[in-house]
């Protein structure tokens, strides 16, 4: 039925080891050529080979623990995940974000956490690295009706919030992306958005164990195009909720207005839960295109995390609270 290009389903470890294999073949045959051409140069050729062998393979082998998500669908390749990004601060062209964000400096970095908390704190990169990370394989469903399966590395947001001790009046968490018009070309090209990028969650959603602060994927640190050095991942919501490159987190009483809510309130709501029964005003949300597959697959309620999160929305009309 569905034809999938083999390159797109090859887990990155195999894909990379294949590359290493080919690379080493190249080096070996080059050395062989050197050997054949001039016998006396044998020592230098041998040392070339051993240098290639000495290359630590661990540094490129990704640490995804499984090849599929819990539903049995294969991971998207590192290549796809890092070359197809919605990051309007760089550009609205998904395939150019990787290029334009190449080398963007995300170190040093600070995340200010404050608002209605007992213990406001500014987290440095080292502070963030102190959180014990784990791998989470999540589906990412974009509101534009495409999706991927991504092996994130990160820690639950609840652990970070526990350190700052939210006060009981806090009802929502407001997140802010870095505002850097000099370093990111998209700000000047897209001046009509209300920058900086803002997103929000209810405190219940933020404290949910699935809600992840991601610092890496495929076992490596995040690249700028994926929201380095730290981003949110809320797998049961449309991708735009998973705010990138966070610099500020505030506990607040009022529901935050996200950038997309401000841009088109009738199209993007605060909750933005993946819901095949509530369509976007301009396109259907009933199906999605999994990157790397032909055809479409039906979208699933809460992106397949219904058992874990449906209780958060008990009694709520999801077609009103979209």
């Amino acid at each position: 039925m569905k034809k999938i290009k083999s390159s797109e389903i090859t887990p990155e470890d195999i894909y990379l080891s294949r590359r290493d294999f080919l690379k080493s073949l190249g080096i070996v045959s080059a050395s062989a050529a050197v050997l054949a051409a001039c016998g006396p140069a044998a020592t230098s050729a041998t040392s070339q080979v051993s240098a290639a062998e000495a290359e630590p393979i661990d540094s490129v082998t990704p640490a995804a623990m499984a090849d599929t998500d819990e539903l049995g669908d294969p991971l998207n390749s590192f290549e796809d995940i890092t070359n197809y990004n919605n990051y309007y601060e760089f550009t609205t062209d998904k395939q150019r974000v990787a290029k334009l964000s190449e080398g963007y400096k995300t170190s040093p970095w600070e995340v200010q956490v404050g608002g209605l908390v007992n213990n406001p704190k500014t987290f440095s990169l080292d502070d963030l690295r102190n959180f014990e990370t784990e791998e989470r394989i999540y589906r990412m469903r974009c509101v534009e009706a495409w999706s991927m399966v991504i092996p994130w590395k990160g820690f639950p947001l609840s652990k970070l919030l526990a350190e700052v001790e939210p006060k009981s009046e806090a009802k929502y968490v407001r997140f802010e992306t870095i505002y850097d018009p000099e370093g990111m070309p998209g700000f000047k090209k897209n001046p009509w958005y209300q920058w900086p990028y803002i997103e929000g969650l209810s405190v219940d959603e933020a404290m949910h164990d699935l809600t992840l602060m991601a610092t890496g994927l495929y076992g490596k640190d995040l690249l700028p195009q994926n929201g380095a050095p730290v981003r949110l991942v809320v797998p049961w919501k449309y991708g735009f909720k998973s705010i990138k490159s966070i610099v500020k987190i505030d506990l607040v009483t009022e529901q935050p207005t996200s950038l997309w809510m401000a841009a088109a309130p009738n199209e993007y709501g605060f909750y933005a839960n993946v819901n095949p029964n509530v369509n976007h005003p301009r396109w259907s949300q009933a199906s999605e295109r999994r990157i790397g597959e032909l055809g479409r697959r039906g979208s699933i309620m809460f992106n397949g995390y219904e058992d874990e999160v449906a209780h958060l929305y008990d009694g709520m009309d999801l077609s009103v609270n979209y």
């Binding site: 998207n76 009509w192 199906s287 295109r289 055809g295």
Partner: protein, 209 residues
């Protein structure tokens, strides 16, 4: 066998070759794996955009003729329109056969409920009706009505741009550039505007003369 002397002007040859280039480049990129992670989206976007550009070029021929007194442009209206239809057909075929993989339940949902799809489909039907009746035979058969029918090209231009605008998120500017071009091309067909612009061009050329 006598060979008829070729009636093709260099401009026509350029137009015909140029119209095939996007398809050749597209197939090459598909073969080379240059269409990015979302191949279907890229292929759909490229064919759609090519169809739109060719349609706008076809709509540009008439104003180019009366502004610059460049008659050969008129000969390009039909081929450019037909190539636009060709790319629109590929665009639609990808949507039905590859993107939705003949899942008619989902296609029905998309085609009947989503305004961007309705508008795109209508544009396609207009192009189809014009493509079928593009021959001299049909031109004779339809007489006065032929011109009326082919004025639908203006509607197709507007709908194609609307189709594009309704597909992107707010703030994505590219479709609005095409919208601007359509507005210019169609306003140049409104008598007072046409005469005013033509007089601008005439006075400029008389100054230089």
């Amino acid at each position: 066998m006598k060979r008829k002397k070729s009636k093709w002007t260099p401009l026509q040859i350029i137009a015909h070759i140029g119209a095939w280039i996007p398809l050749v480049v597209g197939l090459w990129d598909l073969w080379q794996g240059n269409l990015g992670p979302d191949i279907i989206r890229e292929a759909t976007l490229r064919t759609g955009k090519t169809a739109l550009i060719l349609l706008l070029l076809s709509l540009a021929c008439t104003p180019i003729n009366f502004l610059f007194k460049f008659r050969p442009a008129l000969k390009l209206r039909r081929p450019l329109g037909l190539y636009s239809f060709m790319y629109a057909s590929i665009h639609f075929a990808i949507f039905i056969g590859v993107d939705y993989f003949f899942d008619f339940g989902l296609i029905q949902d998309a085609l009947l409920e989503k305004r961007y799809a309705i508008v795109g489909f209508t544009t396609g039907l207009i192009l189809l009706s014009m493509a079928i009746t593009s021959t001299i035979g049909w031109q004779r058969r339809l007489k006065k009505n032929w011109k009326r029918l082919h004025r639908l090209a203006y509607v197709a231009g507007i709908l194609a741009v609307v189709h594009y605008i309704w597909l992107v998120k707010q703030g994505v500017s590219e479709p609005w550039i095409y919208a601007g071009i359509v507005v210019v091309l169609l306003s140049l067909r409104i008598k007072p505007i046409k005469n005013w612009v033509a007089s601008l061009f005439r006075s400029r050329s008389s100054q230089t003369a």
